[in-house]
Symmetry: C2
Subunit: 115 residues, 2 copies
């Protein structure tokens, strides 16, 4: 069974180094060597991470033989955002409830003060 694409995306994002690679690529294309530098990782280690990101469609690599820059591909991140939309009301609701609660406390304090 091949995992569905949302699962592949989430699995690829479940690693701080891979998220840092995406953050780096969000400011522009970079070669594998450039990507490896800040992480103090060997080229094989970074290549493994890149392969996971590539398989998830989160990055693409140029085809020029010598200089194969990686770039961010945001499509799967958009799919994640769409999946999350369904849950947005939950934190908006909790915020509303907190707001009600704080208002309630304020009213009570005002009441105590008035007595």
């Amino acid at each position: 069974m091949t995992p569905d694409s949302l699962s592949t995306t989430f699995a690829a994002l479940a690693d701080p180094t891979r998220r840092a690679i995406l953050a780096r690529l969000s400011s522009g294309e970079a070669t594998v060597t450039e990507l490896a530098e800040p992480f103090d990782l060997s080229l094989p280690a970074i290549s493994k991470h890149l392969k996971v990101l590539q398989r998830a469609g989160l990055i693409a690599q140029g085809r020029k033989a010598q200089w194969r820059p990686c770039r961010l591909e945001a499509g799967p991140l958009k799919d994640v955002t769409e999946w999350l939309e369904h849950y947005r009301r939950f934190w908006d609701e909790s915020f509303d409830r907190l707001d009600d609660y704080l208002r309630e406390i304020q009213r009570e304090e005002q009441h105590d003060h008035d007595e």
Copy 2:
């Protein structure tokens, strides 16, 4: 090294059954038995998934001895949304580029038509 909380959240979401459990809980609390029903999974199998979700802080389970309903906890999903915000401009930009491209094609077609 304990994984950071974003990695734990993403790993928990990287499974279609666990995402289906969250979808079910988004329409209200449910017991473990109720959650197991639609998935044709054994109770131990569903419990394993619930443990992963619970460790990620995505669900909480009531403490009443007999009936321990699970409920959705949306905090970690909000953190994911905040992490994604940084990347939003990428798909908005691609959309802009697509828009420019379609306009360009339209102009060319109009041009061909006029000749």
